[in-house]
């Protein structure tokens, strides 16, 4: 294991871990979103899907791995952030960053915290919430509250912003930069971020519009 | 003292081989007992430091800048010559040797030049092995181009940044040794004095430029690799920190200074735009391969260049030198430009420039081919002038660029002080009165990689060097003298800054000792320099202290040296009553305005011995004999 620990202790290695965990989480987002969108099929289908998932014996280990991935991604990213902060103890009076800096890259830490806060509330309300009347009911009753729905949408748009940088950035970190493919990867990253953000947001939006009840 | 150049006996082709055999060797186990001090980290210094450390010597290296990689070799653009004959176009060691001796207008030492040509190929091999990304052909072999007046393609290059890439190669070799601990690197240090003990160079005193402290280092030999003195003209293509300090201070300790009047004016520089200009920028000579130099035929023609039709243009280099055309050597091209401007046919807002036009080349080869070859140079020109050279002709004017003169050294690169060696541009060596394009990089690296590793060993193996600690009285005394000089500079509290004096001196030097010189002007100059020097020491404006980073103080110290050195340069120019290479005396020219040498009287290297500031220096002559190349007037027509 010594090579892994050495790998971790290097700046490049840490970035690989953050990127690797991040991309894996992107995969999870796709699964999660596909499940969520079943809500548009009505309570029967959605609740059945939720029950099937809950009754799967592998769901607990999968959740534990997922939680691990999240923690790993967050903790290492925070360590990276701390090191970065240390690397420039005295800042500029005037700093006019340019280049590939985007809203997404600039706000990575902020969006991360918003998503984290959301995640905690989300877990409390949905994963560990009262599922006795079916998950469909739980979702609709929560998101009927306009404050909750707006918070939900803001969090998802933050996630989208986070992904707009994170997705393509991971490829660069893995060394996958090529004049032929990188422009496509960047576009794909934006598309992915948009699909995830809009996809998740569509549910509270629809509920607020009263189309799902 | 008589000058012994220590040229080995035998046929010229065998001299270096025989000499390497005759030189004594230092036992490998003993090498680490020797401490070598190297001042300067340009091509010569970095390559010498790396090579000597590889051999096992203990090396200490000093440089002015924050990193050894910044030395001004980095700015060399065009290329490096080598007698590889890869293009199969008739090159050979002999031809490179011949071209260099002839290009130097028969004022170089034949044996040195032959050795340089012999070594040239190894430099390319070694640099390529270090990972220098030389330009390549599609098949993967090295590309060559013709350069600076050569009729064969023997110049290797890395875009327009050959100096940078070669220096970074040598720097990487140096840093490898730093990483191994065999070289200790001392950046931001200025050599204040040379320590000579019992007749041999045994150490240096440096000022730590950050703390201002004086530091003493003792060693068994000292290598000065500190570049040229072009900044005595204030405006030159040299970097701001290039100075004559180290060599001048060594000269004051007994090292003879040879041929200081051999200065090179480079024909293709961006013209001067205003009085605040701090430096001139060179446009690589390689541009003359594709660019055509011209001025309007009529001095009154004030049309913009693209409006001047072909028949109203005077492509004066092609007219005057039909066989070499735009590729005549630097001194010839510079003087021709001066002649055009003296006729009032100069162009641009100041009238102090000529056109270098690429429109024909762009028409012939296409803009992208030109961009590929010269892109970075065109961009640089665009940055400076705000004019796009792909659309309008460049404007160029000659500027001081390189100095062939320097500390006198023998065949072993040792100065007249035993144990003090001088490498690269800092010595007077191999270029005679004029250096050919792409030969400076060759000489710097030849000295460092392939000459000094042998000759230094030869010296150390036979020298009797008693232990000398850096706390010996010689060092303390030199430290005190250096500190006193600094205190003195700081205590003047006058009105004029060092830059004011430097500018003034530079203007005088350019006017009276620049592209064309005459006895009257030189005498006038010689009467003004001592006055200026005296005023400098009475009216210098300086602030701050000597115990901190004080860049104005550094500058003042260097200007003080120039005010002494300029006098020697002018004296040498006055004494050399002939025209040769970069030294053009108006009294000595052929009817069609070409340089006229006087081989009867001046076929020698003039080595000057210091006798005191303001005192007449003593002239020592090293006669130059030409056995392999026949003396002839250079003819590029």
């Amino acid at each position: 294991m010594s090579f892994l620990s050495r790998f971790y202790s290097s700046s490049l290695g840490r970035k690989f871990f953050v990127a690797g965990a991040g991309l894996s989480l992107c995969g999870f987002l796709v699964l999660h979103l596909s499940g969520n969108l079943l809500i548009f099929k009505g309570p029967g289908v959605f609740n059945h899907f939720a029950q099937t998932l809950d009754s799967n014996p592998f769901i607990l280990p999968a959740e534990l791995i997922l939680a691990g991935l999240f923690l790993f991604h967050i903790v290492i990213a925070l360590i990276v952030r701390y090191h970065n902060y240390q690397a420039r103890p005295i800042g500029y009076v005037k700093y006019s960053a340019k280049g590939g800096r985007t809203w997404g890259s600039r706000t990575m830490t902020a969006t991360a915290f918003i998503v984290l806060a959301f995640l905690i509330i989300h877990l409390k309300d949905f994963r560990f919430g009262d599922r006795s009347q079916g998950v469909y009911h739980l979702v609709v009753s929560c998101l009927k509250n306009p404050y909750y729905a707006v918070f939900y949408i803001i969090a998802m748009l933050s996630l989208s912003l986070h992904l707009s940088h994170g997705f393509q950035s991971a490829f660069q970190t893995f060394g996958l930069n090529h004049p032929k493919y990188t422009p496509a990867i960047k576009k794909l990253g934006y598309l992915f971020a948009a699909v995830i953000g809009l996809g998740f947001s569509s549910i509270p939006f629809w509920i607020m519009l009263g189309k799902i009840r | 003292m008589t000058l012994d150049s220590k040229i080995p006996a035998g046929p010229i082709q065998e001299k270096w081989d025989r000499h390497r055999f005759d030189l004594k060797l230092v036992n490998p186990a003993n090498k680490r007992k020797f401490e070598i001090l190297i001042v300067g980290t340009g091509l010569a210094g970095a390559s010498a430091a790396a090579s000597l450390a590889e051999l096992g010597y203990n090396v200490k290296v000093f440089c002015l800048q924050d990193s050894p990689r910044r030395a001004h070799s980095i700015a060399a653009q065009g290329g490096i010559n080598a007698a590889k004959n890869y293009p199969n176009d008739g090159d050979s060691i002999w031809r490179l040797f011949y071209d260099t001796v002839k290009g130097g207008d028969f004022r170089a030492r034949e044996a040195n030049v032959y050795r340089l040509a012999q070594i040239s190929s190894h430099i390319i091999d070694h640099s390529a092995a270090l990972g220098v990304p030389f330009a390549r052909e599609y098949g993967g072999t090295l590309a060559n181009r013709s350069f600076g007046g050569a009729q064969v393609s023997r110049t290797f290059y890395a875009r327009g940044q050959t100096g940078q890439q070669l220096l970074l190669g040598a720097y990487s070799a140096l840093m490898r040794q730093v990483g191994k601990g065999s070289v200790q690197m001392f950046p931001r240090r200025e050599m204040m004095d040379l320590i000579v003990s019992q007749g041999a160079a045994r150490g240096i005193v440096c000022r730590n430029l950050v703390t201002g402290e004086m530091e003493s280092y003792s060693g068994d030999a000292v290598l000065l690799c500190t570049g040229g003195y072009g900044n005595v003209f204030y405006l030159s293509t040299n970097a701001a920190s290039c100075n004559v300090g180290a060599t001048w201070r060594a000269h004051k300790k007994g090292a003879y200074f040879a041929n200081p009047c051999f200065t090179q004016i480079h024909p293709t520089c961006v013209p001067v735009s205003g009085s605040h200009q701090s430096k001139l920028t060179l446009m690589s000579e390689s541009l003359r391969n594709d660019g055509r130099v011209w001025v309007p035929k009529n001095p009154q023609d004030k049309r913009s260049p693209e409006q001047i039709p072909e028949e109203d243009r005077d492509y004066y280099l092609e007219r005057r030198y039909p066989s070499f055309g735009n590729l005549v050597p630097r001194d010839v091209a510079s003087r021709a430009a001066k002649a055009m401007i003296d006729e009032g046919r100069g162009v641009g807002p100041t009238g102090l420039s000529v056109y270098l036009d690429f429109s024909d080349a762009i028409k012939r080869a296409g803009e992208s081919a030109i961009r590929e070859k010269y892109g970075n140079l065109f961009d640089m020109y665009h940055h400076i002038t705000d004019e796009n050279p792909y659309r309008v002709p460049m404007r160029i004017y000659p500027a001081v660029h390189y100095t062939m003169g320097g500390l006198w050294v023998d065949y072993n690169l040792m100065t007249t002080i035993p144990g003090l060696f001088c490498l690269g541009e800092a010595n007077f060596s191999d270029h005679g009165a004029n250096r050919l394009g792409a030969s400076a990089l060759m000489q710097g690296l030849a000295d460092g990689y392939f000459v000094i590793p042998y000759t230094l060993g030869g010296y150390l193996a036979q020298a009797k060097l008693p232990k000398l600690s850096s706390s010996a009285p010689e060092f303390k005394e030199a430290e005190n003298l250096a500190s006193e000089k600094i205190k003195k500079l700081l205590s003047i509290k006058g009105k004029k800054t060092a830059s004011d004096y430097h500018k003034h001196l530079g203007k005088l030097m350019w006017d009276y000792c620049g592209m064309a010189r005459n006895a009257k002007g030189l005498k006038n100059l010689l009467s003004q320099i001592p006055e200026m020097r005296e005023e400098f020491w009475k009216n210098l404006a300086l602030t701050g202290s000597g115990e901190e980073l004080n860049q104005a103080l550094e500058k003042a110290g260097r200007v003080a040296d120039y005010l002494e050195f300029a006098e020697l340069l002018a004296k040498d120019a006055l004494h050399r009553e002939e025209s040769c290479g970069g030294h053009f005396r108006e009294e000595y020219q052929t009817p069609d305005g070409e340089a006229k040498r006087d081989d009867e009287k001046f076929s020698y290297a003039a080595a000057w011995e210091f006798k005191g500031v303001g005192r007449e220096p003593a002239l020592h002559k090293e006669p130059l004999s030409f056995e392999s190349v026949h003396l002839a007037q250079r003819n590029y027509q």
Partner: protein, 249 residues
């Protein structure tokens, strides 16, 4: 032209610094920002004040010595230019220009605008070379290097080691500098034998010097006066991954 310069003044590494406002007049558009500072320094000297310390040497954009952050941009707002190449015609008459030193923990301030960039030298000393002694080399044409490979290596090798990438990076990372050297030597066949050790050692030294992590924001590429591409950083990442995963180092 007339300008107001707000320049960072700091006596030495230990003391506190701050911006000081100066007015300079009589500046012509073709002067560089460094020549403008020269003019200001001459005025200060004549007034008996201490001139502003700043690094510069070749003044033609190749030595990498100059190191100013001008209005928040390392080497100023112009693309592909060093401070010494930045002409005053790019500013408006009467404009205020803020000049600060490069800021990074690994580049401690020496005085005013002068910083210590010896960290870069130590990174190179850790592996930025080919281990070949003088005299060892075979004929240069023994090792063929395809033209496009040599061109790519040259693109990376054009780095002047100024440190603008570090200054521009929001995290003061030195990735572009290190990547340029790794990429150059990894592309050249001459660099191949030490490929793995080089990337591992240079990376380790880079971290030791206290540079930050790369966040792929590419501010470095935009600031680089020699337009070194961030694809080199990807190459560095690849080389590192290869060395750690595939080699026995």
């Amino acid at each position: 032209m007339k300008f107001f310069l707000e320049v960072w003044r700091q006596k030495n590494a230990q003391s506190q610094g701050g911006l000081v406002r100066y007015e300079v007049v009589g500046i012509s558009p073709e002067m560089s920002i460094l020549e403008t500072l020269d003019v200001l320094n001459e005025q200060l000297l004549e007034k008996g004040e201490e001139p502003i310390a700043f690094d510069s040497d070749c003044r033609e954009g190749i030595c990498g010595m100059c190191s100013l952050v001008i209005n928040g941009y390392p080497h100023g707002p112009e693309k592909a230019s060093t401070s010494c190449e930045l002409r005053m015609r790019h500013f408006q008459d009467g404009q205020t220009i803020i000049i600060e030193p490069f800021r990074a923990k690994a580049f401690p301030i020496v005085r005013d605008l002068v910083v210590d960039r010896s960290a870069f030298d130590r990174v190179v000393a850790a592996g930025g070379f080919v281990s070949v002694n003088t005299g060892n080399a075979p004929d240069a044409n023994c090792i063929l290097v395809p033209k496009d490979v040599a061109d790519k290596a040259m693109d990376a090798a054009a780095c002047i080691g100024c440190g603008a990438c570090v200054a521009a990076c929001p995290n003061a990372a030195a990735m572009l500098f290190v990547a340029a050297k790794i990429s150059h030597l990894a592309l050249m066949p001459q660099g191949a034998p030490e490929r793995d050790a080089r990337v591992i050692n240079m990376r380790a030294q880079m971290d030791k010097e206290g540079f930050g992590h790369c966040a792929n924001e590419y501010a470095c590429e935009a600031a680089c006066p020699k337009e070194i591409k961030v694809s080199n950083i990807a190459k560095l990442n690849r080389e590192f991954l290869r060395a750690v995963v595939c080699s026995d180092k």
